[in-house]
Subunit: 561 residues, 2 copies
Amino acid sequence: MIQEKHAYDNYGIHYPNSRKVYVAGSRSDIRVPFREIKLHGDTENLRLYDVTGAYTDPSCEIDLKQGLPAIRSAWIAERGDIEEHASGVEILSNSEKAFHGLQRKPLRAKDGKSVTQLTYARQGIITPEMEFVAIHEKVEPEFVRDEVAAGRAVIPLNINHPEAEPMVIGRKFRTKINANIGNSALGSSIEEEVDKMQWAITWGADTVMDLSTGADIHDTREWIVRNSPTPIGTVPLYQALKKIDDNADDLSWELYRDTLIEQAEQGIDYFTIHAGVLRKDIPAAKARKLGIVSRGGSIMAKWMLDNNQENFLYTRFREICEIMRAYDITFSLGDGMRPGCIADANDEAQMSELRTLGELTKIAWEQGCQVMVEGPGHVPLDKIKINMDKQMEECFEAPFYTLGPLVTDCAVGYDHINSAIGGAVIGWYGTSMLCYVTPKEHLGLPNREDVKEGVIVHKIAAHAADLAKGVAGAMDRDEAMRKARGEFRWEDQYNLSFDPQRAREYRLASLPPEERDQADQHYCSMCGERYCSMRISEEIRQSATGQGLSEDEALTQGMQE
Amino acid sequence: MIQEKHAYDNYGIHYPNSRKVYVAGSRSDIRVPFREIKLHGDTENLRLYDVTGAYTDPSCEIDLKQGLPAIRSAWIAERGDIEEHASGVEILSNSEKAFHGLQRKPLRAKDGKSVTQLTYARQGIITPEMEFVAIHEKVEPEFVRDEVAAGRAVIPLNINHPEAEPMVIGRKFRTKINANIGNSALGSSIEEEVDKMQWAITWGADTVMDLSTGADIHDTREWIVRNSPTPIGTVPLYQALKKIDDNADDLSWELYRDTLIEQAEQGIDYFTIHAGVLRKDIPAAKARKLGIVSRGGSIMAKWMLDNNQENFLYTRFREICEIMRAYDITFSLGDGMRPGCIADANDEAQMSELRTLGELTKIAWEQGCQVMVEGPGHVPLDKIKINMDKQMEECFEAPFYTLGPLVTDCAVGYDHINSAIGGAVIGWYGTSMLCYVTPKEHLGLPNREDVKEGVIVHKIAAHAADLAKGVAGAMDRDEAMRKARGEFRWEDQYNLSFDPQRAREYRLASLPPEERDQADQHYCSMCGERYCSMRISEEIRQSATGQGLSEDEALTQGMQE
């Protein structure tokens, strides 16, 4: 099954003793990547789900100016339902910063065609994309197809982002995490954002949202999409506003539509669309303790009030669906009414919007579009379950994609941990993707270290959810770690962790300098040598077997005693 | 009610704009401390539960060589049921490192008397200690007495630790957290350990366990106890072993008993005692994936095997009870069989021990002793509830005191977050105290920064649990934060957080240098000025009131529209 073998150094300093391996599918161009960790002792090497794309494949030459290889182009083309078509919508590109690499003509569905994975799944087709994710998730392709057909899972893949590796978001699969990047009016450059994307993927982000609101939005996004092996999401409203110099009064359906098309042609895989913020819910939002804390939600609410009109994202929803299905862009129905404080959790504003999102989910499905639904926000532990259950009920099991939830309002500076607590719990209850929160939440934009920290703690939360849900393969990593721990294989323990460098550093820092070169000794510095419970446990085990008893006999004898 | 007013600078750089206030009880020597945060705008100052003792009271002079003021001496003496009594057990003190400060004669219950808070509560007495904690927890004294009498809560206070401020551990009260400190064979000094204790308290540790296994155990402990305003716990087995040079073969009841008495006379408030590790359970422990990971548990298991005898902590349990009640030391029944990996969670070894701990709880209660029960360990999210429920059932609602649980085995380097996830969940389900885990768990001994990090993330977990349980007063802090956030009071947001310095630093770091002196502007650097959802929300609110409508009318009008 494995097609190539590299040395165990493909992942650089971040993941020592790891190499890239591919598992082949039914056709030669389905090559599903895993990170294989070399383990010692009497233990099989462990293969982990991998999202790092060509960056860790030594046979690929990386040239950011050319973008990543377009691994899906053939799959998209051979279905015969697309055509090259440039809409000619106006784009604002800064020629100095523009992406001058590989320029393809934008693809679009042929007239009247739906090119979504949902449409194919409903037709009973197992696409190469479905087979790819099935291998990655260690399940059968038919299962992927059925989950997608039922709307319980999405494969967010724009036909104009052939560089992306297929991945699935649904509660019966590995819980995914998203990392937000993006410049703001207050700073950061294209280079920084591309670097943040790569960095987020290095630590395991399954998707990346570009939330840029500052300069060079179009060009920043182009560089990110061309170089991203994971799906990219955006909130198109931010760019639409930017085009009118942040003057919400000038916002119009036409401007917004053109922005959708501009981003669709670039290859954005999912759009957050705040179509559920309705006029009827504004009084409930005003009545709440902290109003509307979603940027998109508050902008649309203000627009409705100022213009005395219903939300055009709602009234034009069918037209939006037509755009989405022509490129296979997945809806991420925005939760403009998400609670921004514990006191507002699960209130009427939130629940009313959720019902609207359910209604929109149905419409989008009728139109052949893939849908996920965004969720809160700030929710105390005791209200998470009902929130999850309501979402499943009101939105017919469309995948839930939550920000946090944060389980207290007071963890400023530690909100990534706050979010990991709520995220692990809601993931266990059924959320399909967690949006990461960084230590800078509520305070400012994350830097590189914050992005890493945010990704890793949410990876831990998602993994905890997967263990609790019994997701295929999740337990393998814990079993390998448990075994390495019991056998004092320190190197293996580092390498099985989410951050091998940190684990190693921490251990070495707590050893006296003269012992650092014997760091593989059979005890840790917590208990010291003589108190080591692991060693004593091993002695106890051997004391029985030493008496010439098998494990079973020892048990029986122990029982009789 | 408030007896003294200081300037808002009692808590130094860690908590700016905070001062110490005392609320008086029914007698002048009941003075219950709170940390009052000065807030701005149209907002009452917030009073938080305080554990920092005399260290933050500017009217107290701190002299570590003399120890803290003995605030409880009169309460203890006036009950007339104690006497001065030095047992004369041999102690190993290093005269150079000994605590030469205030030397009191050890106190002990008069012959046949039980001087425990449980005994008083059962007699219907509301002790000053109970009143103190009632004021601190914002509940009625009768409620505290009844919870203690029922065994659902403990007030761990050795009569030889009059320096400690009373506190209660029980699931109907604020969830507590414990910080472990202690030197090991591999390093750290008395000064470092005392400093770690103070440091842990600074960040909010409700109790501190001294788990020293290295040099100068007796003297280290003496310095810690004399200077600690919070209860101190230990695992006496560690010192007993140390006395025989770690040679478990020489372990005996007499040696152990003398160690209990030595520590009882010093004033240790609760003892972890691994009396539930029985011979009958060893086969089940051997059968598990990772054996016995508790130090105390593994030592006792090995002793039983080597000596072919039942655990003397179990066979001598009634004698131990007699010691405990003569000083009012609370049992913390150790979970020697706690699972050390996800695969072993809730297995037969653990459950069998839990049943034994329930049996021992009953015996201890019969003897008038206070009891809490220790819990795991490594437990996946889906097995936490059953673990909590089993503990309540098998141990008759005696307070549960858990280590974590860790919800995955793989979070090395991030195990404090791993533990905060499990801790928040089990706290919500009913655990009374969480034992902190630091980022160095499984790797080495924590340093100062690790202690802080460990305490704060568990404070967040405990607070999340309290919000979910609806503990008295828990929501006040979130309400204050919510209001400060809505009103852009940045200073107040920092000061309401668990780590004001970090919150401030993070915000300033994300502002352009030229804006740092206007850091109180009405937006944050995440969205920038024009996109600020909070500001837009405020505009929406004002847009209605600006039309000359009251909030209610605006609502109604909005509804009709």
